[in-house]
Point group: C2
Chain length 350, copies 2
Amino acid sequence: MPSPLDPIGPPSVETAAGRATMKDVADRVGVSRQLVSLVLRDLPGASPTTRQRVREAASELGYYPDTSARTLRGRRSFQLGVVFTMHEPFEVDLVEALLTEAAERGYSLVLGPLTAARPERLVVPQLMGQRIEGLIVLAADGGSSSVSDLPERIPIVQLGGPRSKGPVDDVRVDDEAGIALLVDHLVSLGHTAIAHATGGSGPNARARVEAYEAAMRRSGLLPDVVESAYTEEAGSHAAEVLLTRSELPTAVLAANDRCASGVLLTLVSRGVAVPADISVVGFDDSSVARLPFVQLTTVRHDPVRLASEALDSITARIEDPTRPTVAHRDAPSLVVRRSSGPARAGGASA
Amino acid sequence: MPSPLDPIGPPSVETAAGRATMKDVADRVGVSRQLVSLVLRDLPGASPTTRQRVREAASELGYYPDTSARTLRGRRSFQLGVVFTMHEPFEVDLVEALLTEAAERGYSLVLGPLTAARPERLVVPQLMGQRIEGLIVLAADGGSSSVSDLPERIPIVQLGGPRSKGPVDDVRVDDEAGIALLVDHLVSLGHTAIAHATGGSGPNARARVEAYEAAMRRSGLLPDVVESAYTEEAGSHAAEVLLTRSELPTAVLAANDRCASGVLLTLVSRGVAVPADISVVGFDDSSVARLPFVQLTTVRHDPVRLASEALDSITARIEDPTRPTVAHRDAPSLVVRRSSGPARAGGASA
DNA sequence: AACACAAACTAGCACGTGCTAGCACCCGCG
DNA sequence: CGCGGGTGCTAGCACGTGCTAGTTTGTGTT
């Protein structure tokens, strides 16, 4: 247990028991605390000589400015909360892009990773307590397609993930355009039997199914929907289901890259040649798509562009809370790799 | 840009312009601020009726206790910093375990993910500014095997990752025991030509190579080291290198699961049967090892146990900074899946 | 009726910093 | 010699909460 050994009287001048404070730095140099404050914030009003000495003293004492005191006193916190999942590679990419982009705009992020033991119900209040000026939501509990209850009175941006109840700003990939790119790509390669392994009940899964069906009908083709989910396991299972058919489709469009890699690698390990026997395409251009033994044709979304757009949205709303909500749909681009090729001529049996 | 439109006079009584404060809650109920403080911290000294009314008022006003003010005033912060990488799946598992275990001990974590744009040099000072009482280090810049400079005068625990200069507490898997488990497993299956795909310059890679060599010699076998790294790409490349040989080894021991999956899936996609032609084993039992088309025999380390051990270490050092440093080596366990089997009789050519 | 005592509640300082205001000094000018 | 104005620096309050030390209220006991 922590012992109450802290000194009774005022801490000694040279080195207090606890961490060094601005006062300690000031005393060491022989100036006022305020001057140290100016120097460390790079504000004008201190001579070059003093600046130098203050910096040295701060470094010698191992001084780190106290963020708590800073945010408490400052008018603004310049902090944004982020709700996400560390298990989803593309979300990780987005968060890293957000970190960089936020720093460039003078904001810092408070990360609120969702976990089995830390659902939204616990994470969001914790973020709210940190004086965040806005909330960027990437994920919902259990990969659900909608978030439960978000605080009011604070700017919120949905980034790529689930939908929320109320009308909030919303930045995401244009699912419809992306799916259309993939279907058209496959059609141009002569494919007509194109199956879709869905994202199940995950975010945007429904929209992608509908986009797939629309694109197929536009090309005069019959939709072929196979229930799946946004994971490798689910993709693997979908492949197994396809393999029980008397005839395989000539192409599979999976709801995301993880699912696609599950489909592809399961087919390959069953001796089905990709893309000779069957083409497999994904969605996201996550790191898995670039693996040498995957080489997935997919649709790329730029995390940096998405992050930038999300930050523009939220900073704009912070400055003008009354502005109308916007829905930004980022145009994705097709990335052709080795997992797609011309449709096989005859029908190969499973 | 932020406009200085904040109200000049004191904010209105009912609903201030900014966020609700404890005072606002107190005014609404008609009690003192201190009493609200007691209620919200679940301390004794308030009647059940008052508790109820305070809780209701707080909820109605959307009140969230200000962490900054709390940390600033409180004697202790009960916060621990964590330096890690979001791209390494096992680190993510560890961080999630740390979040849970820390909460159970009354601590909260301040996450400091490393990024290309946010190296240790920037992340560590930012954590230090948050009043952390200790630092848990999982990763180093660029997957390097040692951390550069860590702050003094603060308890530090290395968890599974790189080594640091000074003598600090150190919790990690027993590499030697884990590698020995794998080699012995393969030997018992009749393997004699066992290659090792290394972790390159990554954390613990050197220790694993040495453990491999020692285990091989102990069984009277000749070590066969293939340079690689802790990634799927590197594993894939190592497999390509092996395939150029006139004869494949009968088993490959990869430095971690990511590398192993690269080896395995590349071999499979080249038509080599696993485990009929060659066995592949990994290290970590990360999520990839469980994928249906991978089914990797590997060595499991329990993230929860490691996290728990790390937290025990750091909390002990916080309470007694003079205690001697400890090096905890967690005993791993063998997980046999379908990627390993009896050694093939003859020598299959590549 | 006076007292002790716990329960319920309140008063005021302190945490480390940012912010506004102001002071002391030096310089050049009239 | 006084006056204006910039430069370098300091004084003191405020942020929202936790902590210590009270003060009032209610209840039972002598």
